[in-house]
Symmetry: C2
Subunit: 197 residues, 2 copies
């Protein structure tokens, strides 16, 4: 097989949810039908990797030249609530369901002995400062309902200490489940019935 | 959602075998973990689209600066046989199974009234010339075992006319099946038991 093609297939096969067979089909489609898709994809990739950065305050992906993200810039979202999530995908899931109108804090992972993720690897240390600066009254945890999620939640509570209410999503999040697979209705219930800790 | 991110997700979602949810996960992985994968993918895309072209003789994807493909350049493959296939993916499938040692002819699709693909849309007209130039004695059809595949096969036989033997893959290709999903053993049987027409 042509070396350039082989290299391209390998690059695609490295992406999540793309197996080797799918990578072959993708590359075939891109190289056999020249409709500009490949060039557009390459341009969009370079544009996004160059110009999209994590917000310095909350970690949400945002345009490099805006400094902070759309949520941190939006004064109407300064309602005293911060929702702590694992990654940007969870923010998109929550935004799509429109159940939360405060700000986010992306920690970027979960504490896990098995995966070797320690508290210092996560974006947690800036949270106490944010609570003071943004007059936060409630921290809502929207982390996966797993051992790692709960461990991380308890660690964050111990770091933040008092002076703020803590809550977590109510029943509705299936045990062992990921935010990714929950429908908007269930997510809405979970937000409404959140339980103080 | 950030515009650049949205654009990138849309580009990924246009690829075969990538749904919208997978596109979101791919983009998240590329933008949240900056390990150079996105840049490498973009570079490989541009390199391949710029430098990989169909072979002027058989249609196989090949390097722009080599002119003809590895199969057409390889004198040991001038065994008088041409295997007619639909696309480059079928060539890769056949090459992986090592059952064929002649040359290929990619027609680029199948005649189909439903899809609006007419004989003129396919790479068929150069075949009689190739048979003369390359002293071809046998045309082996390795097209999908479908109505469209058989229609295309009969059309090609009528265009080529006499002076050459025609054969098709023997039993082993499941009815309605695609070359893509056949194991090497079955493919080998099918090549061995090919039937003269």
């Amino acid at each position: 097989m042509n070396q350039k093609i082989e290299k391209l297939i390998k690059q695609f096969a490295k992406l999540p949810r793309v197996g080797n067979r799918a990578a072959v089909r993708i590359v075939l489609a891109l190289l056999q039908v020249r409709d500009g898709r490949a060039e557009n994809l390459a341009a969009a990739l370079l544009d996004a990797t160059e110009n999209v950065v994590p917000c310095a305050v909350c970690g949400c992906l945002t345009d490099k030249n805006t400094g902070t993200c759309e949520f941190c810039r939006d004064a109407s979202r300064a309602n005293g609530q911060i929702c702590v999530v694992r990654d940007m995908g969870d923010v998109w899931t929550l935004e799509k369901s429109s159940v939360f109108h405060g700000r986010y804090h992306i920690i970027g992972g979960l504490i896990s002995g098995a995966a070797g993720t320690m508290p210092d690897d996560l974006n947690i240390s800036t949270l106490p400062e944010r609570i003071k600066n943004e007059k936060i009254t409630e921290i809502i945890f929207a982390l996966p309902n797993t051992v790692e999620g709960k461990t991380t939640q308890h660690y964050i509570m111990s770091v933040v200490g008092g002076g703020v209410r803590f809550s977590e999503l109510a029943s509705g999040v299936p045990l062992g489940g990921d935010l990714d697979y929950i429908d908007d209705g269930t997510l809405s219930l979970a937000f409404g019935g959140r339980r103080e800790l």
